[in-house]
């Protein structure tokens, strides 16, 4: 009889032990088990719109807004001014690297002309860099951007931290 009681007591103890464990493990289940590290940004070189090249790696240490756009893309046209206004207002070390997907460089230059005039100090400060990728080698081949506008935020440690698909006005407000 004593053995039977012991078995029953053992089963009950085991059950309640497991229940207690389960109750405590509920809280740990909903927390992330591990923090995935951001992947490094690729070390690529862009052709600048006004000639010359720039290696993405040379901008490491700054927050880079890698912005893909095209002059024929209506949402890109609409958001460009607000993007520049935002950059002008902020005094951090953010750099806008705007990569045009236009087939012809003239289309991008024509679109940018009034902005270069209106935001001259910003362009002169080097916080806005204009690049051009007519064959989409880097835009599509490396960054897998097929629809515009898209913006990849590269953290100062040169890792890819976020991607904004579509216009980024809302994200700028955040």
């Amino acid at each position: 009889m004593r053995y039977k009681l012991l078995i029953v007591a053992a089963i009950l103890a085991l059950t309640f032990g497991f229940m207690l464990y389960d109750r405590t493990s509920i809280t740990t289940d909903i927390e992330p088990t591990h923090t995935q590290q951001n992947p490094p940004a690729p070390d690529v070189t862009f052709n600048l719109l006004n000639g010359g090249t720039i290696a993405l790696h040379s901008l490491a240490g700054h927050t880079i807004l890698l912005h893909f756009w095209a002059s024929w893309c209506i949402p890109c046209r609409e958001e460009f001014a607000s993007l520049l206004t935002h950059l002008q207002k902020t005094n951090d070390d953010t750099i806008l690297l705007a990569v045009s997907a236009d087939a012809k460089a003239q289309d991008a230059t024509r679109f940018l002309a009034p902005y270069k005039r209106d935001f001259k100090p910003l362009f002169d400060s080097g916080k806005v860099i204009l690049a051009h990728d007519p064959h989409h080698t880097l835009i599509e081949g490396t960054f897998q951007t097929f629809n515009y506008p898209e913006t990849i935020i590269i953290a100062p440690d040169f890792t890819l931290s976020r991607k904004i698909i579509g216009p980024m006005q809302e994200s700028l407000k955040e």
């Binding site: 089963i11 059950t15 497991f18 229940m19 464990y21 389960d22 493990s25 995935q36 992947p39 940004a41 690729p42 024929w72 997907a101 087939a103 064959h135 989409h136 599509e140 081949g141 490396t142 960054f143 897998q144 951007t145 097929f146 629809n147 898209e150 990849i152 890819l160 976020r162 991607k163 698909i165 579509g166």
Partner: protein, 630 residues
């Protein structure tokens, strides 16, 4: 074609809707756009690495081999077709879809369904995608009307028609999954001439086409050869683009940005903007795999698939060892071997108990056969636990595998203690019957994901294991009662049969312990999940019914209200109570235990109950007459 070009140029959203409705019809046209360099089977290809590439399907990361097997069995009811393995068939469907479309694939056995769709009768009842699509498109109105009927009210023929409709849609998804990487036959040729090579020129071409339409109208006869080529190119690119919008089945790219655990198909990467430099590398490898297949280059294929499998093995959530084990599991099929051994063991056990003079080594051989079956069975469960990382009782199918193993092990234990063939009979009967029954509940993927409410290893390991172990001992007690009744009918020694029934009594006590404990644990789980201990849910009532039945017959036996014959019959009928509570309540499709709902096996269950009641009535009557004569 001119009509399509016009709609592309003027009203893309409208075209999108038309294409969605007519995707399957269009797909045959789409395939004409691609260059298929090879028309032969890629028999000399090594598919080992391709089979190991992980894919997220129905929420689980599985090897491509399993994905191929699930779909080939779903479409054709076979794991190989025309001497082509499932993985080779999948590669062909993805990378050379035009050839797969003409192969007899879709199994449609129901003669009513064949008549409804106007399909000719064939010896093997298999139809190609082209045949099935044509039949479905001709009977669009019929399909639409069938889709309005509740599933439960559909006839078997109507159900088969809808199943074919769904399967062809699924097949269409697979054929379009790699069109992003296939060579397009467009003039002028650009780069590797895949869709991506042309994509960025589309806005410019569209502008030019609109200018041509504004100037010359829509009559192609007025166009110059260059203008016609431009119109054709835009037509091909636009249709390829729109036909791929919902193509999400081939989830082979892990999520690149935080926010979701869902993997993405190549086309989803393209459409959703979820790509990254990391996904670019994977897309490039997929492109190489596609090109090497299309060019029928076995060496490049091996290199590309190896590189892709190796790259993917490091992806988050991918367990390469589990993937390899899963491939081996499906290739080797230990469960069917185990079932075969149980059936052989049953035949040998019958030989042992037949009363014929047999050599002792036959009995030893029988024990060895059952032990080998149990070993493979246990190995199956261990493999499944390793692959799924959870207790092996998440679905009805899994619970049948688990219960049958416990029954076999208990049978072997009985045999070790009693050495009178009773344990062997219990083990082989329970093993073979339950494994056979499990085939009805296996579904498309036998390793399906758990639904959210079941997704806690603690409760699976306690409540579900406990309650299924209770069912298990209940079934074993029922089988022992059956053996007792048969032996009584055959006029065997009453002392021996009484001893057997005593074994059944003891087993019923163990069954009561586990079902009661399991039911209480279930109540606690329900309290945590649904905020109430008891809700008179059909599944809860079923579990309670087993407890009450066991309490009733055991008390009846203890208080001598049940004599030997009545107790044995009531114990034999425990199998009916368990079958109804375990499987039957899932047919009701009501209550909170919706994860177990099924409409399969209703007829089998009814037949089983009828057979059990008849058996109980006949044996009760026969034994009564024998006792009366004595």
């Amino acid at each position: 074609m001119s009509l399509v070009i016009l709609s592309v140029a003027k009203d893309p959203p409208q075209l999108q809707e038309i294409l969605r409705l007519r995707l399957r019809m269009t797909i045959l046209t789409i395939m004409v756009f691609f260059c298929f360099i090879t028309t032969a089977h890629a028999d000399d290809f090594d598919y080992t690495s391709f089979a190991r590439i992980p894919i997220q399907h129905e929420g689980r990361i599985k090897p491509m081999a399993t994905f191929a097997l699930i779909h080939l069995e779903k479409f054709s009811g076979k794991s190989e077709i025309a001497d082509t393995t499932a993985i080779a068939w999948l590669a062909q469907t993805m990378f050379n879809p035009a050839q797969s479309m003409s192969q007899p694939l879709f199994l449609l056995k129901d003669p009513d369904a064949q008549a409804m769709l106007g399909l000719p009768t064939k010896p093997d009842n298999r139809y190609s995608f082209a045949e099935a699509t044509e039949a479905i498109n001709t009977n669009q109105k019929l399909i639409q009307s069938l889709l309005q009927i509740p599933t439960g009210e559909l006839s078997p023929g109507q159900r088969a028609v809808l199943e074919l409709h769904e399967n062809t849609a699924l097949f269409a998804q697979i054929t379009l999954s790699c069109t992003l990487f296939l060579h397009l036959s467009i003039e002028p040729q650009k780069g590797d001439s895949t869709f991506i090579d042309y994509f960025h020129t589309m806005p410019e071409w569209q502008k030019s086409l609109q200018a041509i339409i504004a100037k010359k109208g829509t009559d192609l006869n007025r166009y110059t050869p260059q203008e016609t080529a431009l119109a054709e190119a835009m037509h091909k690119l636009t249709i390829t683009l729109h036909s791929s919008e919902d193509n999400t089945l081939l989830r082979v790219i892990p999520p690149q940005w935080t926010g979701s655990d869902a993997w993405l198909s190549p086309w989803a990467i393209f459409h959703s903007g979820q790509g990254s430099p990391q996904s670019a590398e994977l897309m490039q490898l997929w492109r190489q795999v596609t090109t090497s297949y299309q060019e029928h280059n076995a060496a490049h294929w091996l290199e590309a698939t190896q590189a892709l499998a190796s790259k993917m093995s490091a992806a988050p959530g991918v367990r390469p060892k589990a993937l390899s084990l899963e491939i081996l599991y499906y290739q080797w099929a230990p469960l069917s071997k185990s079932m075969a051994l149980y059936i052989l063991g049953f035949a040998l056990t019958l030989l042992c108990i037949s009363g014929l003079r047999i050599w002792s080594f036959v009995r030893m051989f029988t024990v060895g056969t059952v032990c080998a079956g149990a070993f493979l069975h246990a190995l199956t469960l261990a493999t499944r636990i390793y692959i799924l990382e959870r207790p092996p009782v998440g679905t009805l199918y899994e619970s049948l595998l688990f219960v049958s193993l416990i029954a076999v092990l208990f049978g072997l234990f009985l045999e070790w203690r009693l050495r009178n063939n009773l344990g062997l009979l219990v083990a082989t009967l329970a093993g073979s019957l339950l494994l056979f029954a499990s085939q009805s509940f296996s579904g498309d993927d036998t390793m399906s994901m758990l639904i959210a409410v079941l997704n806690t290893n603690f409760w699976l390991a306690t409540h579900v294991l406990c309650i299924t172990t209770g069912y298990d001992f209940g079934l074993v007690a029922g089988i022992i009662a059956h053996i007792h009744l048969i032996m009584r009918c055959l006029g065997r020694d009453p002392d021996k049969t009484r001893q057997i029934l005593r074994g059944g009594y003891g087993t019923a006590l163990i069954a009561l312990l586990f079902t009661s404990l399991g039911t209480i644990l279930g109540g606690i789980w329900a309290d945590q999940s649904w905020c109430r201990f008891w809700g008179w849910d059909p599944k809860e009532n079923g579990a309670l019914l087993i407890c009450l039945w066991l309490i009733w017959i055991l008390h009846g036996r203890i208080s001598q209200h049940f004599h030997e014959r009545g107790f044995a019959v009531a114990l034999a009928l425990l199998n009916v109570v368990i079958a109804l509570s375990w499987l039957g309540v899932n047919l009701l499709s009501t209550g909170l235990h919706s994860y177990g709902f099924t409409d399969k096996a209703a007829l089998s269950l009814a037949l089983f109950c009828a057979a059990e009641f008849s058996f109980a009535a006949i044996t009760y009557f026969l034994i009564g007459r024998k006792d009366h004569a004595l």
